[in-house]
Amino acid sequence: MAKISKEEIEHTAALARLKSDGENLEEILDYVAECEKAPTDEIEAISQISNLKNVSRTDEVEKSLPVEKVLQNAPAKQDNYIKTKQIFE
């Protein structure tokens, strides 16, 4: 049984930018630990299946969204900027 301390849950929540609400992850982590039994010596890890690499476009200016459209959903804004709370004390 995976044992996760309260501190670890709180640390994870902090990394995820969530308030910890005492979520129980142990049962699911126990289940996914099944993966550990798979024979993966000399098996390469894959993150996707399409074999594409470094997809890029030519560095040319393209038509993009006008500022007012980009900002239309921002909860707080001023002039042509998104407004945030202060970052440092």
Partner: protein, 484 residues
């Protein structure tokens, strides 16, 4: 005119062309059905009456002028609410996106509009497509039209119900671990998950980017194929989009070898579902295909592998919802005494995300955090390799794989909401396909206790049109075809 619910795309086109009915009339029939049925089924979360009628009128003019755009011109369609339509609120069934109006349009929507399709509205889903029952939606659960005490499956439950109940002849869904195929199976319609990379994901609200794929849902394989042709194709706006030209040759069923993976018929599969699937498989044998037992030995690790990889991608993708750029925010909530930026993040995300979304963000953050990434995420990426190699090997021996879509028929609403693990198990036969990026279809076979069951046909990468061909052959011979 006959019941428009039963019309397929080609018949509809003929009727429009011969002026037996019009796109406006058909759209109105759909809206009438929506008015009568949706309050109970909750398939649509937003109905776009005036936009749809405008589009239908435009289409009607094209038919009157004798130059329709093609088969989809004037045909109504429903869109899953995690796909952006410019100027139309799109919330992915999450509180954190309520009120969000996309300033841009998904490529599939642009393509559908260019084809003249009439968008009826947005359909319900599990929050951010995370679920197998359409119960985690902020808009409340969708109900299965075959039995309203049961779930429609998920996460594309709203799209499946819109089609199964006749509110819309066509729908678009998305499939990350079975989210098109499983609700198609539970609702008795056809649902197709294309080869990864063939349909642009631009404008699909990302859940797990290496697994997500948009796909068509309809009443027949032919309609699904026509819809797939309309929405697929290379798109430079999606960096995982493929340029592959995949118009496959027609298949000859007598030349086919079909694999039956013994792992898909083992413990966990409802015996009645098993029987119906085996009967369906015997139809392929009668048609002349060679049926062969095969093995996907690593499929026992697929679900655990998926529940590591998917949440890690979820945690990363959902980091964008921060209460600053768009969506639900506590930034102006004076009662919360928001002091700084971090406070905005914490409080907006904590009250904006639902339980399952938070659970997956937490899981993915944990399994990719320093100290655990090797044990979980890096290991799972290797297991993904194994799962893919299993399929590669089997497809050297056989042309297709047949099996169940889901281990059971539609379950009761509320039955699995308290136990996430049991819920996750309903995707046991569908997720490996996403891990390997393969195409697969769910086609209705016989019912079990009056509830639909879907047969799954899985093919190798880029065999999409061959799958349609085979599925159409099965549609032609199966007996006791059930409607909605």
């Amino acid at each position: 005119m006959t019941d428009k619910k039963e019309l397929n795309i080609k018949e509809t086109f003929e009727l429009f062309k011969n002026k037996k009915t019009t796109p406006v009339e058909l759209a109105k029939v759909c809206f009438e059905k929506i008015t009568n049925l949706n309050h109970e089924l909750n398939a649509f979360v937003k109905v776009l009456n005036s936009n749809a009628l405008d589009a239908a009128e435009e289409s009607q003019k094209r038919f009157e002028a004798g130059n329709p755009k093609g088969l989809l011109d004037g045909v109504p369609i429903a869109i899953k609410d995690n796909i952006a339509i410019e100027g139309i609120e799109t919330a992915a069934a999450s509180k954190i996106l309520q009120g969000f109006v996309p300033p841009y349009e998904a490529t599939v929507i642009t393509k559908l509009k260019e084809a003249g399709a009439v968008i009826l509205g947005k359909t319900n889903l599990d929050e951010f497509a995370m679920g197998s029952s359409t119960e985690t939606s902020v808009f409340g659960p969708t109900k299965n039209p075959h039995d309203k005490t049961r779930v429609p499956g998920g996460s594309s439950g709203g799209s499946a119900v819109a089609v199964a109940s006749g509110m819309s002849p066509l729908a678009i869904g998305s499939d990350t671990g079975g989210s098109i195929r499983q609700p198609a199976s539970f609702c008795g319609i056809v649902g197709f998950k294309p080869t990864y990379g063939l349909v642009s994901r631009y404008g699909l609200f990302a859940m797990a980017s290496s697994l997500d794929q948009i796909g068509p849902m309809a009443r027949s394989v032919e309609d699904v194929e026509i819809l797939f042709e309309a929405i697929s194709g290379y798109d430079p706006k999606d960096s995982t989009s493929l340029k592959e030209e995949i118009r496959n040759k027609k298949i000859e069923i007598r030349d086919l070898k079909i694999g039956i993976p013994n792992e898909y018929f083992a413990e966990g599969l409802d015996p009645k579902v098993k029987k119906v699937i085996e009967q369906a498989i015997s139809k392929f044998k009668e048609m002349g295909a060679e049926i062969k037992e095969v093995s996907l030995p690593n499929s026992k690790y697929a679900l655990s592998c998926y529940y590591i990889i998917m949440p890690v991608e979820v945690a990363s993708n959902l980091a964008r919802y921060d209460g600053i750029k768009y969506g639900y925010s506590e930034i102006k909530n004076s009662e919360l005494r928001i002091k700084n930026l971090l406070d905005v993040y914490l409080k907006s995300r904590s009250s904006g995300f639902g339980k399952e979304a938070k659970r997956r963000i937490m899981l993915g953050t944990y399994t990719s955090s320093a100290g655990y990434i090797d044990q979980y995420y890096n290991k799972a990426q290797k297991v993904r390799s194994l799962v893919k190699k299993d399929f590669d090997k089997v497809f050297q021996e056989v042309d297709f794989i047949l099996g169940p879509v889901a281990p059971t028929t539609a379950f009761k609403i509320g039955e699995k909401t308290t136990d996430p693990l049991t819920m996750y198990l309903s995707d046991i036969y569908t997720i490996a396909v996403n891990l390997a990026g393969l195409p697969a279809i769910s086609v209705p076979c016989k019912k079990v206790d009056d509830l639909p069951v879907g047969l799954q046909i899985i093919g190798p990468q880029f065999s999409d049109f061959k799958i349609f061909d085979l599925a159409k052959k099965y549609e032609g011979v199966k007996d006791g075809l059930q409607g909605a």
